[in-house]
């Protein structure tokens, strides 16, 4: 951050006369976007914060009032919410890690020249471009369905009529959601890591090859360290999106069978139970959790950003 700012200052001090007149002219184009964002995103959160300290259930309008930390106490002691917190963590961590590893392997495959590489890349990206609800519907009905889904159909096709026909969603609900999300997010990780691979310093790697380093050594000591920040970026951006996932949970299991994550639980507390105070408190808890991830994400992005600025 500081390095980029230092780059700007000399240019400014060289034109002190321009600077004074320019200050507001510089700021003006920024203001509409800034004001809009503060009003539409920050103010509602302040509202959530206020409501989280209130006793407010739309079914009991007469009991509205200040509740102190009651909602938070209820959120944190409630079994459903605690399960939802655990589910959210398990879901996010497993989807991010699996899709990150798969994405890296696929990116390494696609980083090499081979016949039809562009076409394979397009095939790989496709899962990310299917509308999330549509993708979840297809997984639920066309792939997982125990009677006519593709997975069990393939099992029958390969092993004959006696093949096992598991009911995927009811026997392994969370894994079913994870698999569908991994399928959708691997392309995202792949794209980011591929961008990283294609920006690696080729001359250094060629030198290493000439010095007799093995492919594994090159990967371990040169490619991987270079990729690290891209892996971090993919992981953290992926976490931010997957922590908030609603579509897949809502569609595949409707939050049943222990797959309700925090966004789904909050949606239910607010939409079905109409318990505004408690939903808001849970929302605040999610924000606190997200801030932890977001701080890391911002640091990663800013390190990438500093590199760009110093170039």
């Amino acid at each position: 951050m500081t390095t980029t700012q230092e780059k700007v200052t000399p240019q400014r001090t060289s034109q002190p006369a321009l600077r004074r007149t320019g200050d507001w002219a510089r700021r003006a184009p920024l203001l509409p976007a800034l004001v809009f964002l503060i009003i539409v995103t920050q103010l509602p959160f302040v509202g959530t914060l206020v409501i989280s300290f209130m006793n407010w259930n739309a079914y009991y309008p007469d009991e509205r009032g200040f509740a102190g930390f009651d909602n938070f106490a209820r959120v944190l002691t409630d079994v459903t919410t605690r399960e939802a917190i655990v589910t959210t963590i398990v879901l996010t961590v497993s989807v991010v890690l699996i899709s990150l590893v798969l994405g890296m392997l696929v990116a390494l495959l696609l980083d090499r020249a081979f016949l039809g590489r562009g076409f394979v890349r397009t095939m790989m990206i496709t899962p990310f471009l299917v509308v999330p609800v549509a993708a979840a519907l297809v997984w639920k009905h066309a792939l997982y369905n125990p009677e006519y889904g593709l997975f069990n159909g393939l099992l029958t096709g390969i092993f004959g009529a006696g093949a096992p026909q598991p009911d995927w969603v009811s026997t392994m609900p969370l894994s079913s959601v994870v698999a569908a999300l991994v399928w959708q997010w691997t392309p995202f990780m792949m794209l980011i890591i591929l961008a990283g691979l294609q920006s690696k310093p080729l001359d250094v790697i060629e030198a290493a090859q000439l010095d007799g380093c093995s492919n594994f050594q090159i990967f371990r000591h040169m490619t991987f360290p270079h990729l690290r920040q891209y892996l971090e970026l993919g992981g953290l951006l992926g976490s931010i999106y997957i922590v908030q996932n609603f579509d897949a949970v809502f569609t595949i299991t409707s939050g049943g069978l222990g797959t309700a994550n925090l966004p789904y639980t909050i949606y239910q507390t607010f939409y079905n139970a109409q318990d505004y105070g408690r939903a808001s408190a849970a929302g605040v808890v999610v924000v606190i959790g997200t801030i932890l991830i977001a701080t890391l994400a911002l640091r990663t992005v800013s390190s990438l950003f500093r590199e760009e600025g110093s170039r």
Partner: protein
């Protein structure tokens, strides 16, 4: 195995021996890449194929891959049989996505200009503020938005979604546009200013041609995100302003008899995004990583 191939490349005489071995492992990895690509695209292919089968052929075990193709699934989806017409939701999604994308551009381009070409003081802080709003979980602000919308009678109104989608995509657009505008060489702008070129003229002749592909990519990504959004739309709309993803949720509990119809619905709703995504493939990664990676 590969180690020896690399080692032999050391001396020129042996290097002549090495390439065939490397090419063979390369061919293997190429085939592997194809297999992985096909596995990943398979559910989409299956979705499209099923959408063109009759309901009877769609619901078979083992799957009937070579069953005759028909448009029945699509006919059912577009209302030949029972059920609500998907046209209003599709139209709503299109309206919300296009208008919010336009609003995003109107707000984001000047802001990105102020953050790149003639940067304001502490511009990195401002940039990170934009990003931080993106990290605020949607659920955390949903309830007040709902209550306010209810209070002013904006529930089930497409304009509410347009405003919300604009705020959802604005941070991404500012980041993306900033990285595109940063590619405009300041020297050229200064030279133009010295030559007496007016600001509008400079923008039109020098800046626009450079950033136009960037504007196109930013628009496509904003469009995709707005089109895909479910949670806001699900909570804040009902019948009048219902969007396509919300319409799709009416199939969540539908049973096997309508598999082809469900797949046809998924194909139709995904089609605009698929087209936009393939068109913006190269810029997709830059948009998704918020412009941090070029």
């Amino acid at each position: 195995m590969t180690t020896t191939a690399e080692r032999t490349a050391l001396t020129p005489s042996e290097a002549a021996v090495a390439p065939p071995r490397r090419r063979r492992s390369g061919a293997f990895l190429g085939v592997l890449a194809w297999i992985v690509g096909i596995l990943f695209v398979l559910p989409v292919v299956w979705m499209v194929l099923t959408s063109f089968h009759s309901e009877n052929d769609a619901a078979t075990n083992p799957p009937s891959v070579f069953a005759p193709l028909t448009l029945d699934g699509y006919a059912n989806f577009f209302g030949a049989s029972t059920g609500a017409s998907p046209w209003p939701p599709l139209l709503n999604s299109m309206t919300a996505s296009v208008l919010s994308t336009l609003l995003v551009l109107i707000l984001a381009i000047p802001a990105a200009y102020a953050l790149s070409i003639r940067p304001v003081r502490k511009w990195t802080d401002v940039l990170f503020f934009f990003l931080s709003t993106k990290m605020l979980p949607v659920v955390a602000g949903l309830l007040p938005v709902y209550l306010i919308a209810q209070g002013i009678g904006m529930l089930d109104n497409i304009w509410l979604l347009i405003v919300l989608y604009t705020s959802m995509n604005l941070p991404i657009a500012v980041w993306m546009m900033r990285s595109f505008l940063a590619e405009v060489p300041v020297e050229i702008l200064e030279a133009a200013a010295v030559d007496g070129s007016s600001l509008t003229h400079t923008l039109r002749v020098i800046v626009m041609p450079i950033v136009l592909p960037g504007i196109a990519a930013t628009s496509l990504i904003c469009f995709i995100f707005s089109w895909n959004e479910l949670l806001f739309a699900r909570v804040l709309t009902a019948t009048v302003a219902q969007t396509a993803p919300v319409f799709l949720t009416s199939f969540v509990t539908s049973q096997g008899l309508f598999l082809a119809k469900v797949c046809a619905a998924a194909v139709v709703v995904s089609l605009p995004v698929l087209i936009a995504g393939f068109a913006a493939q190269d810029k997709l990664v830059q948009g998704l990583s918020l412009g941090a990676i070029k």
